[in-house]
């Protein structure tokens, strides 16, 4: 159940923040690190779950790519959302066609471009702090 809740948050992320392919923003690297709000996830937890919550979360994080955690940086969060968005564009053929018309490229090329962008969707990661 927790998994479902977390993933639905993640799923929503795709669409609320779906950056248009036309403006991938390499600017995330320079932004200060900040914790994202995690209230929704907390609401779904029951007392009994709290027992082994850590192990459960770790399991989820390993199983479901993009599951957040307490120390998630803004950059990591953005990268996940971008990758989710690109995967969604690739999966939804009409959207792919829509972009292809806009950029006057073939759909095959557009799909390839999106896959290539999944490598570094937000530019280079920021310098780590001392930790």
């Amino acid at each position: 159940m927790v998994a479902a809740a977390v993933l639905s948050v993640m799923g929503m992320g795709i669409f609320n923040h779906g950056h248009s392919s036309k403006s991938p923003s390499p600017a995330y690297a320079n932004l200060p690190l900040r914790r994202p709000a995690r209230t929704e996830r907390k609401m779904d937890l029951k007392a009994s779950d709290r027992f082994n919550i850590n192990s459960q979360l770790e399991h989820l994080q390993a199983k479901y790519v993009g599951t957040g955690h307490a120390d998630l940086s803004r950059f990591e969060w953005a990268v996940n959302i971008q990758r989710d968005s690109y995967a969604s564009y690739i999966g939804h053929y009409p959207i792919l066609a829509y972009f292809a018309v806009a950029e006057n490229e073939s759909i095959g090329r557009e799909r390839y471009n999106f896959m290539q962008k999944m490598l570094l969707p937000c530019g280079l990661p920021p310098e780590r702090d001392e930790d």
Partner: protein, 1179 residues
């Protein structure tokens, strides 16, 4: 508001296709996924592609594959979709449907990053299938069969690798060794952690082989090797004795042969000579042709060029890889080579085509080979070629596709009975304006003038066993004309028919005699020329006749019915008389059922608004079995036996049922089911066909009985894929019709209208619209109607293309070069002409040459829709591109209607959206609206994506600014603006003093303009972020919109808020000035929400039938058209919501996606009922 959603035209675009032997037997079929629908196509003997079956799956199909168990005769289809399930389908020939053999759930639904379904790979021997996600997850299912030879599927085996993006997967052909799957993978884990960028620069794609150990039931990574970083596609190389096994890796500019323990064999893909250096060449689709002795691959690049790839090999060592230019066809998303020598090319945009192979590229042509690969300091030496006309392929059929619909409008410009749908379709050189008319297309074969105005026409055979008709008989007011059908159609006088009287009916009687019924009697012409004449008693005349091969019923004036039957000796004998209460309006007898003596039912329509069914059985002859009262006197009756199918070619095995069809004088077609035993009538339906009383005639369509209804326009009722359809024909009003069959035309119709006799055939059965195509130059963006002259003004623009002059110059250069070669070959000048002619067609086939991505071409066109002629074409200069337009009447009225066009100069999307300048051009219509003259252009700071007339001024959405302009002498004058829109304005609608602004990312904003204070302000907006792609104004408070994720939604400002704003003297301005969290003080409410599953690009409120209610019509990127109809009554709502509920339970969608979940993919579905779902139970 409750809406009923109906698909008018199914999507034309293709997502993926696969070919195989799905029906069983020798034929080859193609399974085509069109996004939400799955079609089964087959080329018929004439080389026309026929759709055997089309199923709506309520989900997004992403991948298709076909496999066959060893020793089996039939292929299965595996479908990867967004359902989180793997579905294996089998085509059932008997029932004409796809039968779900297996449905294995493996993950969440939706197109997600790590949920498999994006790629499918099948072991060539059909022993295993791998289903893969974009990232990380790969699942392998083992396929086998049980003792009863049924297909079994194992639980999934995992081959996951996290932080890895997958580009392509195939099953390697390794004979009967353990199945191996190959994948192109890229690991990004290092790159995510390294801030210096070094790891990202070094990230390397790998080709990985996964081996499924059938003994251990386990999947392992067998082999992984770095591969070219441009790799995007894998193609299987035949193995296991037929070839060297391994894979072809298609990468940008290269094709590489790879196999475990084999050195790479690499060759460059030849480039078009005119391709800019910055662009690579990417293979986007591939097909393999295999025969026992040889195999080759066809690879198509993103520019449409097809290359034939062959491997020189000895055993499993590949010595050389050759890439030879084959032909150029429009870019495809999928190609299928059929064993029968056809190539099915599913185009990315525009019509799909079926080609036949003329040759297999053995002739001399540009060729790149691994043996001649040259590596220089800058990289590999490219090979260049020039595209040419088709040499190896010849197109024999095409399937229409509207993909992508860019803009659409429903208008009745031609003043026909129903409005036409004008759509802008296609992209680049293949774009077109298509005028759609509801109805089937017809092909007129002959029109000949007759002496006088004919009243009726029939066709008769001479013998029941004849294949073709012998005579066409035309009746006039006082004469009958007999035409014999042969090589030509000519008048004859030796037929035995009486030609000095009008005829009421002409038909074949018995096996080989003819019957003519005229007002004074029945003339029976025996095969040996003997003529029997039956005269009416007294002064009575025959008014109506109903007959079949063995029975004749006549109605005399006054209402007397006389029934004749044919006896054993071929004599027509009077059997029974019956007195009806009044005059008979019409009669019909059903055809004699197979193996029976007579048909049991006679239908009689009277002027007292009733239809009676009478028995013709000897026991209860002329007894009234049932009575049906109707709303208006019936004009024509037809008893039609509808047998959805006999379990043959297509259609399920339903018992035939008899329908009584009646055309009433008020223009309604009335239909009821006749009980075969009791003759009781039940299940009545009626439909308004037109302004004239429909006349009904029996016809033949695809060998089955069909019905022609002639009202103010003709209709055809026929069976298509197991459904009975009643569709209008796109033809003029006809008076009388009969089916027609000759050796030139197997299933035609002969009809009379006015003074002419017309023979035509009906084409493209099963389609809702027939289209008239007007080609355009570039991708059309939008169009408007010039209101006075009814001309269309279209703007077209393309990125990364050369202007017409540049293209012309390049072509000349190229022709000169070619001409020199020709002179060398001693060709005459005539040859050059021919080439030019060919070249004129070529853009459509080859596409425009690619330019740098920051170059734009664009034009404004005025088109006369009646003739399809372009009366004015303005090419924009200096890298400008048009994006919006509207007609505007400024209040000073000096110029009348003007055209405003919003353009951008030097627009670039990458690396950041930027432009040199935006402009608003103002044009004046000259030469009676046929041409344009530039008044002035005004520079603005952004792209004007939306323009609209408002109170004698021009409203423009320029980036995030809404601005009001007035017309000046030299430029537009700013009057007022509002800069508070979130992103970019893409649509503006106005109604009275309200302005409805659509933002690209933030849905609708309702604004008001206060003239006294000269202020624009937002008083309401939407709370949901919607990436708007289309919008339409519904009423004062309501807007319809569509977002790019495929949802259609309606928002409405609640009544009290609306009233409050209208009553408030400040118009809600004070509230706005207070400002709340950067939003408007009021929020609109979402009243309808519906996931279409396709990007909707245009919306319009229109009525498609005269007198019908208004509905919202939408067009999508995939080329489908749909309608949302509001329900009129609460009962309908209840009925359909229950029907939908039961359908969901009893008939879950084919590909495993939950119906409700699909319609609610992004937002919960709100008050819309499903279309095609109920269509399933329509008949």
């Amino acid at each position: 508001m409750y809406l009923y959603s109906l698909t008018l035209q199914r999507a034309g675009g293709v997502v993926c296709a696969t070919n195989g032997n799905f029906v069983g037997g020798k034929t080859q079929e193609i399974v085509v996924a069109r996004g939400k629908t799955l079609d089964l196509l087959r080329p018929d003997d004439a080389g026309k592609l026929q759709t055997l079956l089309s199923v709506e799956v309520f989900g997004a199909i992403r991948s298709l594959s076909q496999f066959r168990l060893t020793g089996s005769q039939k292929d299965y289809v595996v479908v990867g979709s967004d359902s989180g399930r793997l579905v294996i389908l089998e085509y059932s020939r008997e029932r004409n449907l796809f039968h779900k053999v297996h449905q294995e759930t493996f993950g969440k639904s939706g197109c997600r990053r790590i949920v498999p379904g994006q790629f499918l790979a099948v072991d060539p021997k059909g022993r295993a299938v791998m289903v893969t996600a974009c990232e990380k997850q790969k699942l392998v299912y083992v396929l086998n069969r049980d003792a009863a030879a049924r297909l079994t599927i194992s639980s999934p085996l995992e081959a996951h690798k996290s932080h890895t993006i997958t580009y392509s997967v195939v099953g390697v052909d390794c004979g009967f060794d353990n199945p191996v799957f190959a994948a192109i993978e890229l690991d990004y884990s290092e790159a995510d952690l390294d801030p210096t960028g070094q790891a990202a620069a070094e990230a390397q794609k790998h080709l990985t082989f996964y081996e499924l150990d059938l003994g251990l039931n386990h999947v392992s990574r067998k082999w992984s090797e770095p591969v070219d970083n441009g790799a995007n596609l894998l193609v299987i190389v035949p193995g296991g004795g037929d070839g060297p096994s391994g894979v072809l890796v298609c990468a940008e500019n290269f094709v590489i042969y790879k196999n475990q323990g084999h050195p790479d064999v690499r060759a460059v893909i030849p480039r078009r000579a005119d391709l800019p250096a910055e662009r690579g060449v990417l293979v986007v689709s591939a097909a393999t042709h295999r025969q026992k002795s040889m195999f080759f691959f066809l690879l198509q690049t993103e520019y449409g060029d097809i290359f034939k790839v062959t491997l020189e090999h000895e055993g499993d060592r590949v010595a050389e890889l050759k890439i030879k230019y084959f032909d150029t066809i429009p870019v495809t998303c999928s190609m299928c080579v059929l064993k029968t020598g056809f190539l099915f090319a599913a185009s990315e945009f525009g019509n799909h085509a079926l080609y036949q192979f003329q040759a297999i590229g053995e002739a001399e042509d540009v060729e790149a080979s691994s043996a001649t690969l040259m590596e220089t300091e800058e990289g590999f030496q490219p090979v260049f070629f020039q595209p040419r006309g088709l040499k190896n392929l010849v197109r024999i059929d095409q399937i229409e596709s509207l993909m992508p619909i860019m803009d659409m409008r429903v208008m009745n410009l031609f003043e026909e009975e129903t409005p036409q749908v004008f759509t802008l379709c296609g992209r680049g050189p293949r774009s077109s304006l298509r005028i759609l008319r509801p109805g089937l297309a017809i092909n007129e074969m002959a029109v000949s003038q007759l002496p006088g105005t004919p009243s009726a026409v029939w066709t008769v055979k001479k013998n029941v066993n004849d294949e073709f008709d012998a005579y066409i008989v035309v009746s006039f007011v006082n004469a009958t004309l007999v035409l014999s059908i042969g090589e030509t159609i000519e008048e004859v006088s030796d037929s035995g028919f009486l030609d000095t009287t009008p005829s009421l009916s002409v038909s074949l009687l018995g096996d080989d005699s003819l019957m003519q019924v005229h007002p004074n009697g029945i003339r029976h012409i025996r095969e040996d020329g003997r003529i029997n004449e039956w005269k009416t008693p007294g002064k009575k005349t025959i008014v109506k006749v109903g007959s079949n091969r063995l029975q004749v019923v006549i109605a005399l004036s006054g209402g007397e019915l006389i029934y004749f039957e044919m006896d054993m000796t071929g004599q027509l004998m009077e059997v029974e008389k019956h007195e009806m209460p009044g005059d008979v309006a019409c009669l019909d007898i059903a055809p004699v059922p197979e193996g029976r003596q007579r048909s049991r039912f006679l239908a009689v329509g009277s002027y007292d608004n009733t239809i009676r069914i009478l028995s013709l059985d000897p026991d209860d002859c002329m007894q009234i079995l049932s009575v049906q009262s109707v709303s208006s006197p019936p004009e024509s009756l037809l008893l039609l036996e509808v047998q959805a199918s006999t379990g043959g070619e297509d259609g399920a095995d339903h018992p035939a049922s008899v329908f009584l069809n009646a055309g009433l004088q008020n223009g309604v077609l009335f239909r009821t089911v006749v009980d075969m035993v009791t003759g009781q009538l039940s299940d009545t339906r009626s439909r308004f066909l037109g302004l004239r009383a429909p006349k009904l005639f029996s016809a033949t369509v695809r060998g089955r009985q069909a019905m022609l209804c002639l009202s103010s326009r003709p209709w055809l009722g026929y069976i298509h894929q197991g459904h009975f359809l009643l569709t209008p024909l796109s033809y003029e009003t006809l008076e009388y019709a009969a089916s027609f069959s000759s050796d030139q035309c197997a299933e035609g119709v002969v009809a009379v209208a006015g003074e002419a006799l017309r023979i035509f055939t009906i084409e493209r059965l099963g389609e809702t619209f027939n289209e008239t195509v007007v080609p355009l130059r570039y991708t059309p963006r939008k169009f408007v109607l010039q209101p006075k002259r009814k001309h269309l003004v279209i703007i077209e623009s393309d990125q990364g293309a050369f202007t017409a002059e540049e293209r012309e110059a390049a072509r000349k250069e190229c022709l000169e070069a070619a001409g020199m070669g020709e002179n060398g070959n001693a060709m005459e000048n005539g040859g050059g002409d021919e080439e030019e002619k060919e070249d004129a067609l070529s853009d459509e086939q080859y596409g425009y040459p690619k330019a740098e991505s920051d170059k734009w071409v664009s034009c404004i066109r005025i088109l006369d829709p009646r003739t399809g002629n372009t009366t004015c074409l303005l090419e924009l200069q200096e890298n400008e591109a048009a994006f919006s337009l509207c007609t505007v009447n400024f209040h000073d009225k000096e110029y009348g209607t003007l055209l405003a066009v919003g353009t951008a100069k030097g627009l670039q999307f990458w690396p950041k959206r930027s432009l040199a300048a935006g402009f608003i051009h103002i044009y004046r219509f000259v030469e009676e609206g046929k041409s344009l003259e530039l008044l002035h252009k005004t520079q603005v700071e952004g792209v004007p994506l939306a323009l609209c007339q408002f109170q004698g001024r021009l409203l423009a959405g320029i980036g995030s600014v809404l601005r009001l302009y007035d017309l000046g002498k030299r430029r537009l004058l700013r009057k007022c603006e509002n800069k508070l829109f979130p992103n970019s304005i893409v649509s503006i609608h106005t109604y009275r003093d309200r302005i409805y602004v659509g933002d690209i990312q933030e849905s609708f904003h309702y604004c008001k303009y206060r003239r006294d204070e000269n202020q624009l302000y937002i008083f309401a907006d939407d709370s949901v972020p919607r990436w708007l792609t289309a919008s339409h104004h519904i009423d004062f408070d309501t807007m319809a919109g569509a977002d790019k994720f495929g949802n259609v939604y309606f928002v409405r400002l609640s009544q009290d808020v609306s009233d409050e704003i209208e009553e408030d003297p400040t118009g809600g301005k004070i509230k706005w000035e207070q400002g709340k969290l950067n939003g408007a003080p009021n929020k609109v409410e979402e009243i309808v929400q519906f996931h279409v599953g396709d990007v909707v690009t245009c919306l319009q409120k229109a009525s498609l039938i005269p007198g019908g209610g208004e509905c919202v019509i939408y067009g999508t990127v995939m080329g489908s058209l749909g309608a949302l109809l509001p329900f009129a009554s609460r009962e309908d709502v209840d009925f359909f919501s229950h029907l939908e509920m039961h359908m969901r339970q009893e008939h879950p969608p084919l590909c495993g996606r939950d119906h409700m979940a699909f319609r609610s993919a992004y937002f919960p579905v709100k008050v819309t009922f499903q279309d095609s779902y109920s269509l399933l139970v329509h008949f």
